[in-house]
């Protein structure tokens, strides 16, 4: 065996010399740390550990964006929402599709290299569609979290399963939908299932073996810090899922994760207290999973205001910040070292909170609670934004977020908890206002919290946002357009009709000096470029 191995190693070492095509280097933890230095690649969900979804590519820019055309399209042939953000590593694109599909494509042509689909059991419990938002990569493996709550490593060259670990019993309402985050030699994932009365957690797995290194429960047990923020046994089914990919600050060795609603989502009765760490920003030690600090955005939430928006790391004027435009309608600027709130300003219509506490944190208004006959509250249940990624552009120093202007009527619908069964405790309906709902891409100034400009969408939208050094922001709309806007002014410079609403966050990459911008919509992954 040993002999064979060394022979293989020798073969691998000499191979590059004989190959005309460049041989891809492995994705090392070091490359991940320096992801922004290789803008031709897109090495993780948000592009790099900052979570800014910003690229320094500038071939497509304000001067030529109008000429952009489709380069290729890849179809998953699957129904449901297509939420993926692809990775691109040295010419190969890796992405996921509906029903836990995964695939690798030639990123230049869109031609498939391998395809994988998880054999899902019939009784999975997805909350909101059989969706997946993407992969993570390390070495020669890509990592997938599945709807039946497994974490799987696939061989990056073949799509073969290398290891497969069950994180938790999916029949209790647990699932994975997020793109994992690789830090060092670990694969970090956060669970989904806030609609099922789960107990949320964030896990880290050994990327090589799949062995679990740690688990951080986002709902503390009695006796633990925060355990006294839950009434009785409500912590056991307290929710607080962590279903969006976190970010990582190597300087302080801290990973930032955000959490979702307490369960049941829209009914506070039976879980008196702040319900930590639901709707919170968590600073964790990635080596141990120990909590360094937390900041809860919405206490004792009764409107499904998940804080599951990518916590974006920004360094400006010597200040190390985390920016988050929250589903609850406030734009939070937070000190990254301490978790202290610097300021919170509404960026969309808000009625659930009328005042702030001594620390400047908006606190829920009593009269905003759902009632049996229904209570109109803004933002509505889908939030002022949702999981779709924002972007921060270091050139304009603006933060761009998809805002949704929709209020809903929240009504209680008491129900007993039953394991594995949907547990909302509530219902909500679009309110009957004469004014129709709409969406907007809003450019926020982190300094002031003010809206610098907005691009109005005809209806509330589920597309994320990408910014580039070309002076552009890319986003999609519910009407199916993929749009390039001038990052400085919000003027539309280009659009393409994808034929289906965009439910994903775009990314960009380059091959042989040619820039591509990719976005998923409907059944199709599109790549665009200059002709």
């Amino acid at each position: 065996m040993k002999f064979h191995y060394s022979a293989l190693v020798t073969l691998l070492l000499i191979t590059p010399a004989f190959c005309a095509a460049p041989v891809a280097a492995q994705v090392t933890a070091d490359r991940l740390l320096n992801a922004s230095k290789e803008p031709q690649n897109w090495l993780m969900y948000s592009g790099d550990y900052n979570g800014r979804r910003h690229s320094s590519l500038e071939q497509i820019n304000t001067g030529n964006a109008a000429q952009v055309v489709p380069m290729w399209a890849y179809q998953t042939m699957a129904g449901g929402k297509f939420e993926t953000t692809p990775l691109v590593v040295d010419g190969i694109l890796y992405a996921t599709g509906q029903d836990d599909r995964a695939f690798a494509l030639d990123a230049r042509t869109g031609r498939p290299i391998w395809q994988y689909q998880r054999a899902l059991p019939d009784d999975i419990r997805p909350c909101c569609g059989r969706v997946n938002r993407g992969l993570a990569i390390l070495g020669d493996k890509v990592f997938l979290g599945t709807l039946d709550a497994h974490v799987i490593a696939l061989d990056a060259k073949t799509g073969n399963v290398v290891w497969d670990v069950a994180a938790v019993d999916y029949t209790k309402g647990y699932s994975f939908t997020l793109a994992p985050l690789v830090i060092k030699n670990m694969v970090l994932v956060g669970i989904s299932g806030g609609e099922y009365g789960i107990r949320g957690f964030i896990d880290a797995y050994d990327a090589r073996t799949g062995q679990r290194k740690w688990r951080f429960y986002t709902v503390p047990a009695p006796g633990e810090p925060g355990g006294d923020t839950w009434e009785g046994d409500s912590w056991k089914i307290g929710g607080a899922p962590a279903w969006i990919t976190g970010t990582y600050d190597p300087e302080t060795n801290t990973t930032f994760w955000t959490t979702g609603n307490p369960s049941p989502s829209n009914r506070g009765e039976g879980r008196a207290g702040d319900n930590l760490y639901s709707n919170s920003l968590l600073a964790l030690d990635p080596d141990t999973g120990k909590l360094k600090w937390h900041l809860q955005f919405t206490r004792h939430d009764e409107h499904d205001y998940d804080a599951t928006q990518v916590p974006v790391m920004v360094d400006e004027d010597g200040k190390k910040l985390i920016l988050q435009a929250n589903r609850n309608g406030f734009f939070y600027v937070v000190d990254r070292a301490t978790g202290k709130l610097l300021h919170a300003d509404s960026y969309a219509k808000v009625s659930w909170s009328k005042e702030k506490d001594a620390n400047g944190l908006p606190i829920p208004a009593k009269e905003g609670s759902p009632t049996l006959e229904g209570n109109r509250v803004c933002p509505g249940a889908a939030g002022a934004t949702n999981w779709m990624s924002p972007t921060y552009d270091p050139q304009t120093k603006l933060f761009y977020v998809t805002a949704r202007e929709q209020c809903d009527v929240f009504s209680t619908a008491p129900q007993p908890y039953e394991a594995g069964h949907a547990y909302y405790g509530s219902a909500y309906f679009p309110n009957d206002d004469a004014e129709p709902f709409y969406g907007a891409l809003r450019a926020l100034d982190p300094e002031t919290g003010k809206v610098k400009w907005e691009w109005k969408h005809p209806s509330p939208t589920w597309s994320g946002v990408l910014s580039t050094d070309g002076g552009l922001v890319f986003t999609g709309d519910a009407e199916g357009n993929f749009i390039a806007l001038d990052a400085a002014t919000g003027k539309a410079l280009w659009h393409f009709q994808c034929g289906a609403s965009v439910y994903s966050s775009p990314m960009t990459y380059a091959i042989n000096g040619k820039q591509y911008v990719a976005v998923a919509a409907g059944t199709t992954l599109f790549a665009f470029g200059l002709p």
């Binding site: 129900q415 219902a427 005809p458």
Partner: protein
Amino acid sequence: MKHRWESVVVSVFVMSLALGSVQVQPLRAQAKNPYGGDAKMIKVGESQFRANCAFCHGLGARGGGRGPDLSRKPKKHGDSDQDLFSTINNGVPGTAMPPNGATQQGVGMTEQEIWQVITYIRSVEKTGTTLTGNATHGRELFYGNAACSTCHMFQGKGGRLGPDLTGVATARSTSYLVESLRNPSKRLAQGISEAMKEFSTEYETVNAETADGTKYQGTLLNDDSFTVQFLDTREQVHSFDKSSLKSLQISRQSLMPAYDEKMLPEKELQDLLAFLFQQGGAK
């Protein structure tokens, strides 16, 4: 080894076929609701209704912008307990009504829960809504003096600018229809969730003027940030780049005139309702 694997694979395959055939069978509707009239089940059913149905059908099952008023009787897609069960469980193809468990939200209801919901719906049904109007005269009004058919189709006859009213009797309450006649702009048929339907038709009013000065008025078919499609008052379909138009107004002021007491006295309104409700009734 190989053989053993194959046989395992084959037997798993056979097993899944067997299981599959079990699962393909839909929840079977028994002929009658096992909970019929049970007060406790009405309450449980109300909770289920709020969580699963009220998003479209409104609180109290009185109908929302998208879903029909379920307090109406008879129901468009069948009125027996078994019909209701089947409608809830299988959905209604070609409408926004999804099959049970296929809303991309949750796992759907169990058979018991469906019966609870039906028990609740039965409890809010208004029986004995008496229509006093004269349906024959209502028909004359619809196609004649009231000029409804200029813009509305009924059973394949009429105009296209407004919503087809063929099924309206089973979808909307009397009060909704009265409001729509007396004050059509108050509430346009509102589209609700882009997750369930890619676009909604709300019959908003379009006024457009092209670069060469041609003016159009009509109702909106669709629009996005860049283009607009509408039906003009001559029922011609138009599509324009918004940026190419000299002016464009899309208004939630309905093109339909408000039929006040003068235009449509109470008695004639009742006749019209009788026509829509009796001739456009359930299958």
